[in-house]
Symmetry: C2
Subunit: 300 residues, 2 copies
């Protein structure tokens, strides 16, 4: 993952991994008589994902010169929501993916009922994490975090996008519907990550927040276009899931609508627009800039 | 449902139904391009449940002389969490129940992927509801509500209890494990309902809060024992789900461990202890008292 990334990005990766793993370890130290559910929750979250969303939280917090420790709970919470969505998306009645991050999916490593419950409990844990955080942020900001994350997760956000995606397997959809779907399915949580990082500085200027939101919209879409491209061209071993699984499921994707070359170009263009939208920000936003480039040039 | 209930309880039922339905209508007016998910979320929540948890929120709020309108968001949120748990519990890979509240379960009326997503989105909506509420409560109290509900919902609460329940189908368990399981599976959300109602008065005395929590623990357990009894003795038409489905699934229940008569007696004893624990409270707690009796003498 770290090949061809700059020093500044490598430091952010290391920083994020260390802090998110430590935070996840801590919130997953739950006291229950039956530890199997907790084990499965750890399996779902500690398995070495790319931590893109926590990276965005920290990079955004840094861009507005917030205290990094104030971003910990949000970084952990977005990863919990992301992990929950992967566990449920992989279920046989959903995308039916047996592999995730190069390992058996939760329903394969454990069983389907456990996978349903793991997803449910990870979502609750995300809101528990935000509401019990010991940061220096005000209760007002913590509550705003719950609002941002719940809206991004629910029917108007990620889960609604997933519902649209399931329908896209049954009916052909056009580019505008596909874009709307992606804005919800992956874009909403990516945007939430950037917003959560930004409000770690409660005095962040409105115009900075707006630029960051525009950046997040564009980078979220670029990320999804790239995801469609990678699903088509990457080898299973690199991707950590079966190559071409979208096509096998007859899904409408950027690749199926635009073809592989135009899809690749669109990802680059979106990424460039994203960078333009934050060009006036100080060098404190450099991590965010490099992250944008990384997200659209990644190989898995 | 209202047969043999007192005037005071009938008024609480009507009040709760009206307010919760109105609140659910409002939070389920979501703007999405694909309305099917929202329809299914409405189907899951508006289908005439008993609204026991919202009733407890309002009765508890009244017992501490809080403003009833301050309890609306919490009442709505606990019903959303309860509905989400029913939708997921009914899934074929979970309890595999085709009927719920006398109607086809969500995965029968719609399909399984939709049912997974409906549950996920209802959970998010509960936290959205708490974090965006327009009540007169402080942000500190609203945040405390998120904490109470997320802890009650997650791996240490309801979802953890459900995981224990699934395991109880595979291994015989004893009375103490069964009790622990029930305290989580149904007890946690019932207790949360009472606590959420009580903190609608931010100046509620600690000793009153403790009594209410003890009351909630006992009534939660009584409710579950009664549920086991009803599963065994009620007709499918009254119960709204297949009679004897616990036994058909080889589940350890209070009835399987104690026999039907001792289980019935236990429900009554727990209910009496619950009433004792709040005997010193003012007549403002009368709704809570009558609700306790109703919950353990109900027929469905």
């Amino acid at each position: 993952m770290k090949a061809n990334t700059s020093g500044i990005l490598t430091r952010l990766f290391d920083f994020t991994n260390e802090r998110v793993n430590s935070c996840l370890e801590s919130v997953l130290s739950l006291s229950v008589p039956d530890q199997r559910l907790i084990e499965a929750m750890r399996y779902a979250t500690m398995g070495g994902g790319k931590r893109i969303r926590p990276l965005l939280v920290y990079a955004s917090a840094k861009a507005v010169e917030a205290k990094m420790e104030d971003a910990d709970a949000a970084a952990c919470a977005v990863e919990l929501v992301h992990s929950f969505s992967l566990v449920h998306d992989d279920l046989p009645v959903m995308d039916d993916d047996d592999l995730r991050r190069g390992k058996p999916s939760v329903h394969k490593a454990y069983d389907e009922p456990t996978a349903v419950l793991v997803g449910d409990a990870l979502q609750s844990l995300a809101f528990q994490c935000l509401s019990t955080q010991k940061s220096s942020l005000s209760e007002s900001t913590k509550l705003a975090m719950v609002q941002i994350l719940s809206e991004a997760t629910g029917a108007e956000g990620m889960t609604g996008g997933q519902a649209m995606d399931l329908r896209a397997e049954q009916f052909p959809i056009d580019l505008s519907v596909l874009e709307n779907m992606h804005q919800r399915k992956t874009g909403a949580l990516i945007k939430a990550s950037v917003k959560l990082g930004a409000i770690c500085n409660p005095r962040v200027a409105t115009n900075i927040l707006e630029r960051l939101e525009r950046f997040a919209d564009l980078i979220g879409l670029a990320f999804q276009v790239q995801d469609d491209v990678l699903d088509e061209i990457s080898e299973t071993s690199t991707l950590g899931k079966p190559k071409g699984s979208d096509r096998a499921q007859n899904k409408t994707t950027y690749v199926s609508l635009l073809g592989i070359e135009r899809a690749k170009r669109k990802a680059v263009e979106l990424s460039e627009q994203a960078l333009l939208s934050i060009q006036d920000l100080s060098p404190a936003a450099d991590e965010l800039r490099e992250l944008a480039e990384f997200m659209t040039s990644r190989a898995n």
